[in-house]
Amino acid sequence: MSFINYSSREINCKIVYYGPGLCGKTTNLQYIYAKTNPEAKGKMISLETETERTLFFDFLPLSLGEIRGFKTRFHLYTVPGQVFYDASRKLILKGVDGVVFVADSQAERMDANLESLENLRTNLKEQGYELDNLPYVVQYNKRDLPNAVDLDYLKRYLNPTNVPDYEGVATTGVGVFDTLKAVAKQVLIELKRGR
């Protein structure tokens, strides 16, 4: 849920990166963090296990500039992708304004993608949201890997509603900012509509 503060003239919105384990959600945030001017970003927080798997969430506050004198700030969160962290994933979806689904393009991760997407829909419903009514973007990550499956195939199964989607290589930054911009823009358009 976005937060508009007339006193400090700020608009804050929450974007959640969702997807199966090791699909590159944290890598997306790390790339954004590395490539953003220091004055536009806050500290990136990663609550992770000893093996650098996300335990609870990653968090990155980002300023995108001003609209009509209001500073627009986006809080980016990732969820832990591993199946057994479902309770944590539900918590992080609370108050979400926009969702990025990061898919793993590798053939052997197709089942994990589908399971995670289904899990996203279910968990959003529990919080009273419908994915189809939310600002939502899909990123097909790891396009550089030799075992990446055809884009058409990914689109057919992971983006049946034809939302904006991007090919990504999060490690080198391909598609990372395109994805972020697309979801942020949708969030602002939704706010404009007064939702």
Binding site: M1, I45, F59, G194
Partner: protein, 159 residues
């Protein structure tokens, strides 16, 4: 369903006044008010050296996790949390299901005093947030209903 929380100047001043009073009466180092979704709403006291944005996000995560624990145990919620450090302590309480009041204090205060003052502040804040929510739902439109598609495009033009 997902209407934004809107804080206008007048209400912002009122909640800041409550935070200032609590900061003073509880002899606290700092007082924060955080939305359950991790947005910092107001703060008071010695906050210059603190990363307030991170603090807000982690507090909300903490409250969310504790709420999950409560549900597992069949409790509605755990309304109060207290973390004791070597020098600084942190007292976290839920106000009206929606916002989180955080008090950071050291040896100049005590848990008993903080709890006492927090109780009063929670009552004041709960009343204020009733008004804030009512106002937000009545007024509906925000600054955002006036912006154009071009405004949004411009924001991303040079990104």
């Amino acid at each position: 369903m997902n209407s934004p929380m809107v804080l206008y100047e007048a209400e912002f001043k009122q909640i800041t006044t409550v935070c200032d009073t609590l900061h003073r009466d509880a002899s606290a180092k700092a007082v924060f008010l955080v939305d359950k979704n991790g947005q910092l709403l107001a703060n008071s006291g010695d906050t210059a050296d603190l990363d307030t944005t991170s603090l807000a996000s982690l507090t909300a995560g903490n409250i969310a996790a504790t709420g999950g624990l409560a549900q597992l145990l069949g409790e509605k919620e755990f309304a109060i949390q207290f973390h004791e450090g070597e020098k600084d302590n942190i007292h976290i309480s839920l106000v009206g299901q929606r916002v989180i009041l955080v008090v950071i204090f050291d040896e100049r205060s005590s848990l008993g005093l903080v709890r006492l003052r927090v109780r009063k502040a929670c009552l004041d804040l709960a009343g204020l947030f009733e008004v804030i929510h009512q106002k937000a739902s009545e007024q509906g439109s925000t600054v955002f209903s006036e912006i154009t598609d071009d405004d949004i495009d411009n924001l991303f033009g040079d990104g």
